[in-house]
């Protein structure tokens, strides 16, 4: 029995391991003929993608490796491989956290917090430093935050420009710029692309929209946009000699960032609604009294019925009524003679941004009223016919906590955005046509998404959810959304150039990133 010890058995089994040859397929992968696709009339060997964050693979509020791997051009390049496509170099961030370790505004990506049902920043530290410059050239020349004219912007890749006021450089281009003085378009052209995609212009209007039109970002002027787009596409396409594809920009009412928080999300029970209505009656009364006093030159004795009527016309606009159920929020607006308090209730089509402070809405009466005990005491005094002191009246007036301009797109702003978007898309369309380049109608695709797009394994939707095409930031697409968009690009490329690029299966790409 001695030979039956564990060691001997192990030796026998190890010996068997050698003779245990691996099973072999009839047609092993490495011997199988590679199924090639036609590139049609074009050459995909050096595809360069020009665009903004949507091209870079920005998602979940950050640029991170997984997002970059699943970006529109990266997926497109993947499908081009079978049709003679070359390597697609991506300026990868250092990690899957996203953001920069040394730029506080560019923090970690968002993840969905299941316990609380909201997106929250990933609890991790960014390791990408702006001081680390990447060497080499990159096929993905998508620069997050870029506008159309930045292609030609001097110092756009100069680190010194990051700290100027306003900043003249973009950290994402600083990372990859071949020299501090090079322009973005120079670094594109020097690669001598054989095929390109141009998807710029979104931020020329979107930056204004995401900032709530608060004045921190301007809509690019039509002249500047025309010049930048025409110049950009002309140079990148070598005046139409180089094949490529151009994409247009979406309408903001198809972007979840603007459509997720409804303007009537102030949901009240009967008692709260009555209290709030009561509050604004008191508020309205105070404004009427105050206005009358001003009109009477500060002398209460001089308040005539006419003055009172005039004052009432001003004060009564604040007698907002609230009903049980959803109610529209109160927003800040311009202080004018007819609206001296500079507040009003939102109207039907006005929009709120996704990043609005939801906790403040729930807890601090943001968008309505922050009723403190002191305010309640004044209201009680008013209800019993008392006359409030100036101080008490101000307590009531200041209790209103309207939404800041930066959180709201009002009708004026929406009109500006709609007009600019339409104009910009016309310019993109005309410029593409002028250089014989096909246009991918991203605007129409996102509109189609509103009703859901059948992807074979279910429906791809808009909004923010498990079936959505959007990442958690509500602006950028998630991998599945990018896969579907890639298929649309492929469709246009195949139709235009006679290629046979194969579509992706969007269901094989994930949607929401859960914390």
């Amino acid at each position: 029995m001695k030979f039956l010890n564990y060691k001997n058995i192990a030796i026998i089994f190890a010996g068997l391991g050698f003779i245990a040859c691996e099973p072999e397929f009839d047609t092993p992968l490495d011997e199988a003929e590679v199924v090639t696709q036609s590139s049609g009339s074009v050459d995909f060997s050096n595809y360069v993608a020009v665009g903004n964050s949507l091209t870079a693979g920005f998602a979940d509020g950050a640029l991170y490796i997984d997002g970059q791997q699943n970006s529109l051009p990266a997926l497109l390049a993947r499908q081009m491989k079978a049709a003679g496509g070359g390597d697609f170099n991506i300026p990868f961030m250092s990690d899957n956290t996203g953001g920069f370790s040394d730029i506080p505004t560019q923090g970690p990506r968002l993840v969905f917090d299941v316990a609380n049902g909201v997106p929250v920043p990933l609890e991790a530290t960014s390791t990408t430093s702006i001081t680390t410059k990447l060497q080499g050239s990159f096929n993905n020349m998508g620069i997050p935050g870029a506008k159309s004219f930045h292609l030609f912007a001097p110092s756009y890749g100069n680190p010194a420009g990051l700290v100027t006021e306003p900043a003249t450089a973009n950290p994402y281009f600083v990372r990859i710029a071949s020299s501090p003085d090079v322009t973005w378009i120079e670094d594109v052209l020097v690669q001598q692309p054989t095929f390109f995609s141009y998807w710029l212009g979104g931020n020329d209007v979107l930056s204004f929209a995401t900032s709530g039109g608060d004045g921190s970002e301007e809509i690019t002027s039509t002249e500047m946009f025309t010049q930048a787009v025409q110049g950009g596409i002309a140079q990148i396409s070598a005046n139409g000699a180089r094949p490529g594809v151009v994409a247009n920009i979406p309408d903001i009412n198809t972007i979840p960032f603007f459509t997720t928080v409804p303007n009537n999300a102030l949901v009240l029970d009967a008692e709260t609604a009555a209290n709030l209505t009561g509050f604004f009656q008191a508020y309205s009364g105070i404004v009427t009294q105050g206005t009358a006093l001003v009109l009477a030159g500060g002398n209460p004795a001089m308040i005539t019925p006419q003055i009172l009527q005039q004052a009432n016309a001003v004060g009564s606009q604040y007698a907002f009524t609230f009903n049980p159920g959803p109610n529209r929020f109160i927003i800040q607006t311009q202080e004018t003679q007819t609206n001296p308090r500079g507040i009003r209730q939102m109207t039907a089509n006005e929009l709120l941004v996704l990043t609005i402070d939801q906790a403040a809405i729930r807890q601090q009466g943001y968008g309505s009223v922050a009723v403190t005990d002191e305010v309640r005491a004044v209201l009680g005094k008013l209800a019993t016919g008392g006359t409030p002191t100036m101080e008490e009246a101000n307590l009531v007036l200041n209790a209103v906590n309207p939404f800041n301009d930066s959180d709201v797109l009002d009708n004026d702003e929406l009109t500006q955005i709609a007009e600019a978007s339409a104009t910009f898309n016309t310019i993109l369309e005309q410029t593409a046509a002028a250089f014989n380049l096909p246009l991918v109608d991203v605007r129409a695709i996102l509109q189609e998404l509103q009703g859901g797009i059948d992807i074979g394994t279910g429906v791809l939707t808009s909004g923010l959810g498990l079936t959505s095409a959007f990442s958690l930031d509500g602006i950028h697409l998630n991998p599945r959304g990018n896969a579907e968009l890639t298929n649309r690009f492929i469709q246009v490329i195949n139709e235009t150039y006679g290629a046979t690029l194969q579509p992706l299966v969007p269901g094989n790409f994930k949607t929401v990133t859960v914390k």
Binding site: L4, G17, F25, V114, T457, G507, V514
Partner: protein, 408 residues
């Protein structure tokens, strides 16, 4: 003998699935060498597993059989259109068996059988193309089965006994299908051990003559019901939770006969019916309601195995054995999950016994398992949003077993 038990205990690694589903047919070195036929082979204590009713026909008072089988199996996956490929890691797995029987009197025999009929260890490279279906699975079970055999008539006996099972399961997969593998994929690891369950076995032997034996045996289905198993999530934060899941170890009916063709040659044939229909889904219930449950369609079908084997008594020292079996996969088209990536298989078996003396023999067996190449896909009917996972699979396995037979 102590040493042998110790050896068996040491080898309690894991057992690769090499038959249909996660059934591991290696319950006796002598039987294995002759196509794993045993229900109608009255030869050794291996009957305690194959057919306890036959124990009464054993000549000796005390019979002991023990053995361990080393299995090296390999599965290759490839998809010519996506150009993805993967293979399972070669892992040595070691199912074992220990049988002791005692003839109490002329009509009654009793015994104890310890064996490992179900188990599976499949380990793919992490983040392979099908990582959202399985990265690794490791199922272990040990059956403790006291048996009795009762001779009703000179030609007829019945037998059976209760089965106590202890089992453990570990299962690891990624949470999302990602065509482009993530740098930090969300992953879940499930672990439970010490799960116990009960079942039974019943059998009968009809022996109309010395040369002819007919045997039938039925082993009941046993559900491994895991409760409160450990759950570890990686790269994803879910609330703390445990899991409950049930894995069936299906019932099996065996019918077979043997003929002593000549003084030296025994021929046996056997038919197994494995009631895999019991495995319709793998449902993992996370006890925390905030963690979505996982339901995975299996829809296995009952499957049949045909076996044939022969034993030739060369001389006083050597008995030679050989056999063949055809093992039908219980997996249906469209449900080919990579966790049990096996198709119909052909088993070619051989082996021998070396009789050291009248009491003690060493048994050896060798099996080559050939699996037909198959192009298949897996569709989870509970997850219509996840596209089918398709590709070609090709597997093989080598088994090498050693055992001892002792008779007194």
């Amino acid at each position: 003998m102590k040493k042998l038990i110790l050896l068996a205990a040491c080898c309690l690694g894991s057992y690769a699935s090499y038959a249909g589903g996660y059934r591991v047919s290696a319950q006796g070195q002598r039987a294995l060498a002759m196509g794993h036929t045993g229900v109608a082979v009255v030869n050794s204590a291996e009957l305690a597993f194959f057919n306890p009713s036959g124990l009464v026909y054993l000549e000796n008072k005390l019979n002991i059989s023990a053995g361990v089988t080393g299995i090296i199996s390999n599965t290759q996956y490839q998809n010519l259109s996506t150009r993805q490929s993967a293979e399972t890691k070669d892992i040595l797995s070691t199912p074992f068996n220990f049988y002791a029987t005692y003839k109490i009197n002329d009509w009654l025999s009793a015994g104890l059988a310890v064996y490992t009929p179900y188990g599976s260890r499949v380990e793919y490279e992490n983040n392979w193309a099908g990582a959202d279906l399985v990265n690794t699975i490791d199922l272990k079970s040990i059956y403790f089965n006291p048996v009795v055999g009762i001779k009703l008539h000179e030609n007829l006996s019945v037998g059976g006994g209760p089965i106590f099972v202890t089992g453990s399961v570990e299962f690891n997969r990624n949470l999302f299908r990602e065509q482009i593998p993530s740098e930090s994929p969300a992953n879940v690891d499930l672990q439970v051990d010490g799960v116990t369950a009960w079942g039974w076995v019943a059998s009968a032997t009809f022996k109309p003559s010395d040369a002819f034996t007919l045997g039938v045996s039925y082993r009941s289905k046993i559900d491994i019901e895991a409760e409160g198993g450990d759950v570890t999530f990686e790269n994803i934060t879910f609330p703390d939770t445990e899991f409950d899941a049930t894995l069936p170890l299906p019932a099996e009916l065996t019918l077979g006969f043997s003929v002593q063709a000549t003084e030296k040659l025994l021929i046996a044939t056997e038919f197994n019916r494995a009631y895999w229909g019991a495995y319709d889904e793998l449902s993992i219930d996370f006890t925390n309601p905030n963690v979505p449950d996982s339901r995975n369609a299996r829809d296995y079908k009952n499957a049949t195995i045909w076996r044939v084997g022969a034993e030739y008594n060369l001389n006083e020292k050597f008995d030679l054995r050989a056999g063949y079996y055809f093992d039908e996969s219980p997996v249906q088209s469209g449900r080919f999950a990579p966790e049990t990536p096996r198709n119909d298989s052909h088993g070619f078996t051989t082996g021998l016994s070396y009789n050291i003396n009248e009491k003690l023999a060493v048994d050896a067996s060798f099996v080559y398992l050939y699996f037909e190449e198959i192009e298949e896909s897996y569709v989870n009917t509970f997850r219509p949003d996840v596209p089918a996972f398709s590709g070609s699979y090709k597997s093989n396995a080598f088994l090498f077993g050693l055992g001892l037979t002792y008779k007194l």
